[in-house]
C-alpha cells in the first residue's frame, strides 16, 4: 500500500503546468512527440501516462482502466493521487490501457451532436512510439506528419464521425504523442 502513496508530483502546480503544456503541444500538433516527466507511477503504467493521469484526472473525471492496467497497485495509486472514480468503459471520460485491451472502441463516449466535447479521451500505452508510420493530415499539421499508430481503420472510422469521436494520447516511457479526432489518417 505504501507504494501507492509515492510517485506523485513533488511540486504539483509547476509540474502539472509543464506537463499540460507538453500535452497541449502534442494534441495541437498531431505527430509531434514531447517528453512528459515528473511522476513515478507503479508498473505497468508508463511515466508519461502517469503524468497525464495526474495532470488531467481528478474526482470529477470517471476513469476506465483496461486489461492489465486494472490492477490493485494502479487502482490504489490513482485513487490516492487523483481520486478519479474507476468505472466501466461506457461511463468513462478517460480510458487507460494498451490498444488491444481498449477494444472494442464502440463502448467509449464519442460525444453528442450538440455537445461533441462530451467524449472520451484515451491514454494508449504503446510498445514503441516514433514519428514514422501512418500519414497524418489536418488541423495542427502544416503539410503532413507521421506517427506510429497501432492501426489505421479505427482512426479513419473515428474521423468519419467528426465532430464526434474520441481523442487519443499515445505514451511510451516518458514520451507522448496525440491524435485528435480531427486528424485524417492514411497509409504511407
Amino acid at each position: 500500500m505504501s507504494a501507492a502513496l509515492s510517485g506523485g508530483f513533488a511540486q504539483a502546480p509547476v509540474q502539472s503546468a509543464q506537463a499540460f503544456r507538453a500535452a497541449l503541444m502534442v494534441m495541437s500538433q498531431p505527430g509531434t512527440i514531447h517528453l512528459l516527466e515528473g511522476a513515478l507511477p507503479p508498473a505497468p503504467l508508463s511515466v508519461a501516462a502517469g503524468v497525464l493521469v495526474l495532470t488531467l484526472c481528478d474526482g470529477t473525471t470517471p476513469l476506465h482502466l483496461a486489461g492489465a492496467y486494472d490492477c490493485a497497485a494502479l487502482r490504489d495509486w490513482i485513487t490516492f493521487h487523483c481520486g478519479a472514480p474507476l468505472v466501466a468503459a461506457q461511463d468513462a471520460m478517460f480510458a487507460l490501457g494498451d490498444w488491444a485491451t481498449l477494444q472494442p472502441l464502440g463502448r467509449f463516449a464519442i460525444g453528442v451532436p450538440d455537445y461533441p466535447d462530451r467524449s472520451a479521451t484515451m491514454i494508449v500505452e504503446m510498445a514503441n512510439l516514433s514519428a514514422k508510420g501512418a500519414l497524418l493530415r489536418g488541423p495542427g499539421i502544416e503539410d503532413q506528419a507521421q506517427l506510429s499508430l497501432p492501426e489505421l481503420a479505427a482512426f479513419q472510422a473515428n474521423r468519419a464521425l467528426f465532430p464526434l469521436g474520441f481523442d487519443c494520447f499515445f505514451t511510451h516511457g516518458n514520451r507522448a504523442a496525440a491524435l485528435p479526432r480531427s486528424t485524417r489518417v492514411e497509409a504511407v
Binding site: 503544456r21 500538433q29 465532430p163
Partner: protein, 299 residues
C-alpha cells in the same frame, strides 16, 4: 523589458493564481477545444479579481497554459501600455512569476484583446484571445438552445442573411470587426472583435490560438495551420480593410491604424495600433510624416 515578480508576493498565491482543480478543468476544456476546432466548449468559469469584460476568460486560459519558463506579452487593441494590458501583465508577474516582454517575437504566450500582432507568429507560440460574446449567431438568435442546435445541424443560413442585408443596405458587407469565419469547413466561429483586417492571419498561423470567454463560459481553439475562411459571397468577396493611410509615426503602409484626434480643429493622425511593431520600425529609423517631431515631444 524583462521583469521578475517579487518572490514574497508570488508565494502567497498558488502558481498562476487559480487552484489546481480549476486549472485541470480548464485544461480538459482546452484539449477538447483543440480536438474540435471552432467548437465552443463550455467550462466552469471562475470569478477572477477583475470585472467581466476585462478579459477574465483570456486570463483563465492563460493561467491554465502558463509555465514558469514562459515569457508573457499582453496587448489591448495592439497596445502593450494600456490599462487592461498593464494590469493583466502585472497580475501574472505577481501570481506566476513569469518573465514578460513587449516584443512579439520574444513572447511564448501572448494574451490579446481585439488584435493579432502585425509581426508574424511562430511555431510554439500561443495566442490567447479575450472574447466578450463567443457565439457568432447570438445577435441573430438570442436562445442558446437554438444556436446550439444550429451549430449541431450546420445550419448557418442566418448568418449569410445578415451579411446579405449588409449588402442590401450599404452596398457592401459593412461588418468590420468580429467578422464571422468558418473553421475547417465545419463550425462558424466568432474570431473575437478583431478588425476584419486581421482575419486572414487566423488561417494557417503556425501558432496555437486559444479563445476564452469568461462571462459566457466558453473556450474554443484554432490549432496551428487550421484552415479558416471568412464568410462572403462570390460577387462580394471578403476584403480585409484598413484606413487608407500610412502610419504617421513609422510610415508603415501595411499595418492596422488607429485614428487619433489631436486637437479641436479636426486635426488627426493615423498611427499603428500595434505599438511594438511601430516602435520597432521607428527604432530601425523608418519614420512617417509626423514621426520625428512626435518622438521629440515625448510620446
Amino acid at each position: 523589458m524583462t521583469l521578475h515578480a517579487d518572490p514574497v508576493a508570488a508565494e502567497s498565491y498558488n502558481f498562476a493564481y487559480l487552484d489546481e482543480q480549476t486549472k485541470r478543468m480548464i485544461r480538459r476544456a482546452i484539449l477538447k477545444a483543440v480536438a474540435v476546432p471552432g467548437y465552443q466548449v463550455p467550462f466552469a468559469s471562475r470569478e477572477m479579481p477583475m470585472p467581466y469584460g476585462w478579459g477574465t476568460g483570456g486570463v483563465q486560459v492563460t493561467a491554465a497554459c502558463l509555465t514558469p519558463d514562459d515569457r508573457l506579452k499582453v496587448i489591448d487593441q495592439g497596445a502593450d501600455d494600456t490599462t487592461n494590458a498593464v494590469s493583466i501583465r502585472k497580475f501574472f508577474q505577481r501570481t506566476a512569476g513569469v518573465a514578460v516582454t513587449e516584443a512579439t517575437a520574444e513572447a511564448t504566450v501572448i494574451q490579446t484583446r481585439h488584435r493579432i500582432p502585425e509581426t508574424p507568429l511562430t511555431s510554439g507560440q500561443i495566442l490567447v484571445y479575450q472574447v466578450p460574446i463567443p457565439e457568432p449567431l447570438r445577435f441573430l438568435e438570442p436562445r442558446e438552445t437554438e444556436t446550439r442546435k444550429m451549430h449541431e445541424l450546420e445550419e448557418y443560413g442566418l448568418i449569410h442573411v445578415k451579411l446579405y442585408e449588409d449588402i442590401a443596405r450599404h452596398g457592401t458587407i459593412a461588418t468590420s470587426y468580429a467578422y464571422p469565419v468558418k473553421v475547417e469547413g465545419r463550425y462558424v466561429m466568432d474570431p473575437s472583435p478583431i478588425p476584419k483586417f486581421d482575419n486572414p492571419k487566423l488561417s494557417g498561423s503556425p501558432a496555437l490560438q486559444l479563445f476564452g470567454a469568461g462571462r459566457e463560459q466558453r473556450i474554443y481553439a484554432l490549432p496551428p495551420f487550421s484552415h479558416v475562411v471568412s464568410l462572403d459571397f462570390d460577387d462580394h468577396p471578403f476584403e480585409a480593410t484598413k484606413a487608407p493611410h500610412d502610419c504617421d509615426l513609422c510610415g508603415a503602409d501595411d499595418s492596422y491604424l488607429d485614428e487619433v484626434i489631436t486637437d479641436d480643429q479636426g486635426s488627426r493622425m493615423f498611427v499603428c495600433s500595434d505599438t511594438d511593431f511601430c516602435r520597432t520600425r521607428q527604432a530601425e529609423g523608418q519614420l512617417g510624416v509626423l514621426g520625428a517631431p512626435v518622438l521629440k515631444g515625448g510620446v
